[in-house]
Structures are given as structure tokens and as C-alpha cells.
């Protein structure tokens, strides 16, 4: 017959201070664990949502990002003539030739400069990126020096707000609208007319060509055709893949950092749990002896103490996850090394992370409680009853 479950639980409640201290140690570890996973998840979510599964990005071969890439006008026209592209309004292919450059802008408040993406767009760009929606103001007129800024640029950078001016490339640009692109990378960009921007930056080549495929399953054959064309020095990527690659190094860095931090930190918490559980066993020698005398066998005692350690871990896990969940309201902005540009993203809590964090806290509890539980189970009845 097993020892009742509430025996384990009640024991934790009796020694409130110790339980609270040990559990809060574990809670902090779980908090750090969950926070770093949430950060990596948020980054990846942002960049994955940026891409659409039907869209294809064409950049120069070997260049890893749009910023490094250059696509000649002739090559862009060849891409435009592909038969695989969806036809949009007025019978034009749903394709945009874009320019992507970085400019240095000071942040509001701190005035610290950061690299911001300026994207020269064509008419089809807005159709291709259905996530981009006008939130305030109006769309810029084509052929003018009017620009439209992403929500997180408007909030964080000087001159990014509606009606404000930005000066770059020897011209003044007026922000006439703010767009909302949800949690995608476009929210950290400024958009303007591609021809105007190419003129001002004196860049005769596009950075990338984006188009929507008629049939996404035909991507491989289209890619082969495009890349084996002797006139072309380009590579084609699905937009989702392209943005996933952009976030890879950073997400990996965050994961490795988070993992190594939590492993080191959890050592401390496990030690704390071990101390607590050893003390729990040592204080209850007579009690354990009595339980054995009453007929509970070694396995039940072991089970009761392991359960207690698991409860302890679970309390810590829940106590760590609750504050971590509030981190979802926090937005972090930092430079993405791969695109060299500022990117804003938030912590994101997924069911997977909740499960992982709780499992992690249970593992911490059990690794702290295992040895003490065995000590409790191995006690002999007479010796335990006699000790005072």
C-alpha cells in the first residue's frame, strides 16, 4: 500500500520557509530557462512570419542577404518573364523589384545610432506582403519623396513618426504613413518608392526580386531553370526559407547561451533541493521508522519522498513560469548580425516552452531528491525508531 499522496504535500506545507526558499531558487532558474527559450522563439516567429510560403526571393548568388545582394536590371527583367508567376491586376505579373539598403538613424531619447532597413518597393510589394497594413496616415504617392514607416520604427527612431522628416541621400523624405505588419520583420523597416530611392542612393541595381508562384510545388524546377540560365548569377529561395536563414545564427546563439546558462544555474538550484530534501529526511527519522513499523514497505517510502521532491520542483516551475509569461509584453530590439540591421521582436510563450520548463523543473526536483529519498528508504526500522 502506498503512502497517501497528501503526506508528501503536507510535509512541504509544514516547513513553509524552507520550501519557499528552495522553490524560489528553482523558480529563478526556470524563469531564466523559459525567458531565453521565449526570446529565441520570438525571434524565429518574427522572421518566419515575415515570409509567405508562396513567395520567392531572388538574390545574387553567394550573397546571404538582400543587403549584400545586387540584381542587374536585365536579370530582373528575365525573372519577370518567367511563366511561373501569378498574374495580378491589369495582367501584370505579381512581382516586385526591390532595393534594400541600410541607413544610420538615431534612436529617440538615447540618440544612439542604429542601422535601419530602407526598402524601395514597387506597387506589387504591398500585395505580395499581405501582413503589411496601413495603420495611420496614407500610402506614399509613387514617384515622390514620401515614405512610410513600420510601427516599431515610428515609435523608436527620431524622425520616424507621421509628418516628420528624415534626411538621407541628400534629400528630405516625409513620413506620410505608418504601417502595421504585426510581429514581422517589416515592422522594423521604412518603405519608399524604389525608383526614387535608387536615384538618390545612386544604385543602378536592384537588391532582390520577389514574386508569388502560381504553384509552390513547382519551386524546385523553377529554381533549377533560373539558376542554370547562363545569363543569370542569382539564386532563388522560398521567402519563408530566406527569413529562416536570416534568423538562424542569432536564434542559435540565444539557444546555446540560454542552455549553458540554465545548466550552470540549475546546479545551484539542484544543490538547494538536495539540501532541503536531506534535511527533510534527517528531521523525520523517527517518523519514517513509524511508517515502516506500520507496514509501509521501502518502495512506498521511496515513492513518498520522490513525490515530495517532484512537488517541490513543480512549485518552483510554476512560480518561474508565471513571471516569465508576463515577459510577452516586453519587446527587445537588437541588431541581427546576418542582416546587419535593427530588428524588434518580443518574447513568445509557446505550449512547447511551457512543457519544457515544467519538465525541466521536475528534473531539477528529482535530481535533488533522489539521493535523500534512497537514504530514507534504506533505513532499518529498529534503528530509526530508537534514534531521537
Amino acid at each position: 500500500m502506498p503512502v497517501p499522496v497528501y503526506y508528501s504535500f503536507r510535509n512541504l506545507a509544514v516547513r513553509r520557509l524552507t520550501t519557499a526558499l528552495t522553490a524560489s531558487g528553482m523558480a529563478l532558474v526556470v524563469f531564466v530557462f523559459a525567458a531565453t527559450l521565449m526570446l529565441a522563439e520570438g525571434l524565429q516567429k518574427t522572421l518566419v512570419e515575415t515570409g509567405s510560403p508562396d513567395n520567392v526571393v531572388v538574390i545574387r548568388k553567394g550573397s546571404q542577404s538582400e543587403v549584400q545582394s545586387g540584381v542587374e536590371r536585365l536579370q530582373a527583367s528575365i525573372v519577370e518573364s518567367l511563366p511561373d508567376i501569378v498574374m495580378g491586376e491589369e495582367g501584370r505579373p505579381l512581382l516586385a523589384k526591390e532595393l534594400v539598403v541600410l541607413i544610420n538613424l538615431p534612436k529617440r531619447g538615447s540618440k544612439k545610432p542604429a542601422n535601419v532597413v530602407i526598402r524601395g518597393v514597387g506597387g506589387a510589394s504591398y500585395t505580395l506582403r499581405s501582413q503589411v497594413k496601413l495603420a495611420e496616415g496614407r500610402m506614399p504617392r509613387p514617384g515622390s519623396s514620401e515614405i512610410i514607416a513600420g510601427r516599431s520604427i515610428a515609435e523608436r527612431f527620431e524622425g520616424g513618426g507621421i509628418g516628420e522628416h528624415l534626411r538621407f541621400a541628400m534629400r528630405d523624405w516625409t513620413v506620410v504613413g505608418i504601417f502595421d505588419a504585426g510581429s514581422t520583420g517589416f515592422s522594423s523597416e521604412i518603405w519608399g518608392d524604389v525608383d526614387q530611392l535608387m536615384q538618390s542612393f545612386r544604385r543602378p541595381v536592384y537588391s532582390s526580386v520577389i514574386f508569388r508562384m502560381r504553384d509552390a510545388t513547382a519551386f524546385d524546377s523553377m529554381k533549377n531553370r533560373l539558376e542554370s540560365d547562363p545569363r543569370m548569377t542569382v539564386e532563388a529561395k522560398l521567402e519563408t526559407r530566406y527569413y529562416l536563414d536570416q534568423s538562424e545564427a542569432m536564434a542559435k546563439f540565444l539557444r546555446i547561451l540560454g542552455l549553458s546558462l540554465t545548466i550552470i544555474f540549475s546546479l545551484g538550484a539542484v544543490i538547494g533541493a538536495m539540501i532541503t530534501m536531506y534535511a527533510a529526511v534527517a528531521n523525520r527519522v523517527v517518523e519514517i521508522g513509524t511508517l515502516r513499523a506500520l507496514g509501509f514497505n521501502r518502495a512506498s517510502i521511496l515513492q513518498a519522498f520522490i513525490l515530495e521532491a517532484l512537488f517541490l520542483g513543480l512549485i518552483g516551475g510554476v512560480a518561474g513560469l508565471v513571471p516569465a509569461a508576463f515577459l510577452q509584453f516586453v519587446t527587445i530590439s537588437t541588431m541581427n548580425w546576418q542582416s546587419f540591421a535593427e530588428l524588434a521582436f518580443s518574447f513568445s510563450l509557446s505550449p512547447g516552452i511551457i512543457v519544457k520548463s515544467l519538465l525541466f523543473s521536475l528534473v531539477m526536483g528529482i535530481s535533488g531528491g533522489l539521493l535523500p529519498s534512497f537514504r530514507a528508504a534504506r533505513m532499518d526500522i529498529v534503528g530509526a525508531l530508537r534514534s531521537s
Binding site: 520557509l17 524552507t18 526558499l21 528552495t22 524560489s24 531558487g25 529563478l28 532558474v29 524563469f31 531564466v32 526570446l39 545574387r60 548568388k61 553567394g62 550573397s63 546571404q64 543587403v67 549584400q68 539598403v101 541600410l102 541607413i103 544610420n104 544612439k112 545610432p113 542604429a114 542601422n115 538621407f168 541621400a169 541628400m170 542612393f201 545612386r202 543602378p204 548569377t233 547561451l257 546558462l261 550552470i264 544555474f265 546546479l267 545551484g268 538550484a269 544543490i271 538547494g272 538536495m274 539540501i275 532541503t276 536531506y278 534535511a279 528531521n283 527587445i332 530590439s333 537588437t334 541588431m335 548580425w337 546587419f340 535593427e342
Partner: protein, 385 residues
């Protein structure tokens, strides 16, 4: 002396518990020290920058270039001693995993401006003579097993194609903190190739490195340079090397701040663990404390033994943590050489570690000291622990 002895004896009455707590504190102090060092490394480029060097780049952003013709005009500005050109090449050696910084530079002026890159005279001569020649840092060369005379091929990301170099020299850093993992080659080699393949991208410089004769003149010279090119097609932005490096660091500051916060979290975790140990100890010894008081010890005596025990455990753990920091740092320096050129523990870090350990000891003693000093004798003696 008596109280000290009592504290030490008490500390090891539960050997297992004491060893566990000390291990916990040691691990936490070690982690704290390494994290602080990691944050410090981010600023290494800032620290090692020279105050007599200026960096001039396009005012729009780093991805825009400046015409090479600016070089002569910059040279004529009073206070300027030397001008070198530099292009971030962004080449990949075999695979993306082998990342290292590689630049196209004007070799003669570049080596003159960076005296911290030490290269033997014979190697220097052969590097200057060979337009395809390249120089690599000692650590980089060691990592890939490069020897002088080896052919090295980099795949261009910004400048398309495969680029062929011959290793002519291996430089050593003048200080331990000098980055020995960079790769330089002739700017002329890049430029001549671009003239043939993409003429519109030729004769363009990523940034100018400028030597000034005295640090005080640096801001003046920077202003003079920017004034020279104001309202031109390519406006410039000049700043000291330190400010330039700092602007890079500032871009990834959010992550550094997070690591800093986390390094304090580990201290809080261990504080909780140590406080738990001390609280348990105090609860078990309530009767003893009452006995001491009954024997005539004042409350302050009891408090001091408890405080001493707590501090002793924390400081012992802290000392082990500090001692472990050095071998761990050496190990990390070997393992992480591709990300961080050096992994060096600064004296300030050690002070911080000691302070953190002391803090853990003090904070974890607060509750038990309070319990021990306020215990009522008759109540304490009645209690069966």
C-alpha cells in the same frame, strides 16, 4: 578567537550540507565571473582602440562606400599623419562556420597605422611585394593549419566569385588583448579585379583609417574632414576609433544588458540556497542557542557565531569559485577562440566576485541571526528539535 573557532566547527557539523552549500556558492561565483568577463569582451574592441586613429565612413551607413579620391584630400588636412583604406570583404573560407573578419586594406599605410599587429620584416616585405599576398593572425593561421606560402581561397559574399590569396605573413599581437584572428589583403587586388568585372564598384573605399598626430586634435580633424565633403555626393562621418567601435557594441546592447541581469540572477539563486541552509541550521539549533544564552552569553555573542558561520561558508565557496575561474577561462579561451579572440579575467571581476560572495554570506545570515538573538531561553530549551 573563541567565536571564530565556534563558527568554523559549527559550519562543518553537517559535512554533507556544508559541502553542498559551498559547492553551490563556488559554481555561482564562477558563473558570475565568467558572465561578467563575457560582457567585458563585447567591449574589447572599444578598449583596444587607439586614441590617435579616426575612422571615416559614409554618412548614410556602412554599406555605402566613399570614392578613393578622398584619400589625397584627407591627407592634406592639417593634423593628419597617415591615411589608409579598408573594405570589409566578408569572404567565406570553405564554410560559413569558419567565420573570421577579412579586409582589403592599403597594406603599407595600414601596417603603419596599426603597430599592434607585429609582423617580421622579411614577411612584411614579401607581403608588400605580392599583390595577391595576405596576412593572417597567428590564431587564425594555427586554427586552419596555414603556413607561409599556402594558397587560400575565399568565397565572396559582397564581391562575387572565388578569390585566390597567398599567405605571405602571420602577425602576432603586441598585447594579449590584440585580436589575432583577422585576415588582411591588398586593396589593389580587389580593386583591379572589380575594374575588370564590375567597373561601377571599382575605386570605392569602405572606410578610411586616419592617423592624427595627437589625441587632442582628433575631434578637430574629424570635423575638418566632414566639413570638406559636406554637400558632396558622398558625405562622410568621421569619429574616433573608440566611438566607431562603441556604435557597433551599442547595436547589440540589449543582449549584453540581458546577460548582465542574468549574471545577477545567479547570485540571487545562490543567496536563496545559502539562506535556506542557514535557516535550517538555525531551526535545528534553537535549543543550543537557548543553552548558550542560559550560560550567560549575550545575544550579540550568539548572533556573531551564526553570522560568522554563514560568512565563512559563503567566502570559502567564493574563494573556490574565484580559483576555478582561471583554469575555466583558459579552457574557454581555447574552445571559443573563433568567437572571442581572448578570454581574460580582469582584476575588477575578481573584486566583484569577492563582493558577491560576501553579500551572499551576509544576506543569508539575516534571518537566522534574528532568530538566534531573539530566542526566549525557556521556550528554546523546551523545544525538542
Amino acid at each position: 578567537m573563541f567565536y571564530l573557532k565556534l563558527s568554523l566547527r559549527n559550519a562543518f557539523r553537517h559535512p554533507l550540507r556544508a559541502v553542498l552549500t559551498i559547492t553551490g556558492v563556488a559554481v555561482a561565483i564562477l558563473a558570475f565571473g565568467l558572465l561578467r568577463t563575457l560582457v567585458g569582451l563585447w567591449y574589447l574592441g572599444v578598449e583596444t582602440s587607439s586614441s590617435t586613429r579616426l575612422i571615416t565612413r559614409s554618412s548614410i551607413s556602412l554599406v555605402f562606400t566613399l570614392p578613393v579620391s578622398y584619400r589625397e584630400r584627407i591627407r592634406h588636412i592639417p593634423g593628419v599623419t597617415e591615411v589608409s583604406t579598408m573594405n570589409w570583404f566578408g569572404g567565406i573560407y570553405v564554410s560559413e562556420k569558419n567565420f573570421f573578419p577579412n579586409f582589403a586594406v592599403e597594406p603599407k599605410t595600414f601596417l603603419a597605422l596599426y603597430p599592434e599587429f607585429i609582423i617580421e620584416d622579411a614577411e612584411k616585405k614579401s607581403f608588400l611585394k605580392d599583390r595577391r599576398g595576405a596576412v593572417a593572425g597567428y590564431k587564425l593561421a594555427a586554427k586552419h593549419g596555414w603556413k607561409i606560402g599556402d594558397r587560400i581561397i575565399l568565397k565572396g559574399t559582397i564581391f562575387p566569385g572565388e578569390w585566390d590569396f597567398v599567405l605571405r605573413g602571420i602577425y602576432r599581437g603586441a598585447q594579449r588583448s590584440t585580436d589575432e584572428s583577422q585576415f588582411f589583403f591588398h586593396w589593389d587586388y580587389l580593386n583591379e579585379s572589380l575594374r575588370r568585372t564590375v567597373p561601377r564598384r571599382a575605386d570605392q573605399v569602405g572606410l578610411y583609417v586616419i592617423g592624427v598626430d595627437s589625441p587632442e586634435k582628433a575631434p578637430e580633424v574629424a570635423q575638418a574632414i566632414d566639413a570638406t565633403f559636406r554637400n558632396s555626393l558622398a558625405e562622410t562621418m568621421s569619429e574616433t576609433e573608440k566611438a566607431f567601435q562603441l556604435s557597433f557594441v551599442a547595436m547589440t546592447e540589449a543582449i549584453m544588458i540581458a546577460i548582465k541581469i542574468v549574471s545577477y540572477v545567479v547570485i540571487v539563486i545562490i543567496m536563496v540556497v545559502a539562506a535556506n541552509t542557514m535557516a535550517m541550521t538555525a531551526r535545528e539549533r534553537i535549543a543550543e542557542y537557548a543553552t548558550m544564552k542560559a550560560l550567560g552569553f549575550k545575544w550579540s555573542h550568539v548572533a556573531i557565531t551564526v553570522f560568522g558561520e554563514s560568512l565563512f561558508i559563503a567566502l570559502l565557496g567564493g574563494a573556490i569559485g574565484v580559483l576555478l575561474t582561471f583554469p575555466t577561462a583558459n579552457l574557454l579561451e581555447k574552445e571559443l577562440s573563433q568567437f572571442f579572440p581572448v578570454f581574460r579575467i580582469s582584476p575588477v571581476t575578481i573584486y566583484f566576485q569577492i563582493a558577491a560572495a560576501t553579500l551572499v554570506g551576509v544576506v543569508s545570515s539575516v534571518f537566522p541571526v534574528y532568530r538566534a538573538s531573539t530566542i526566549n531561553i525557556s521556550e528554546g530549551l523546551r523545544r525538542i528539535g
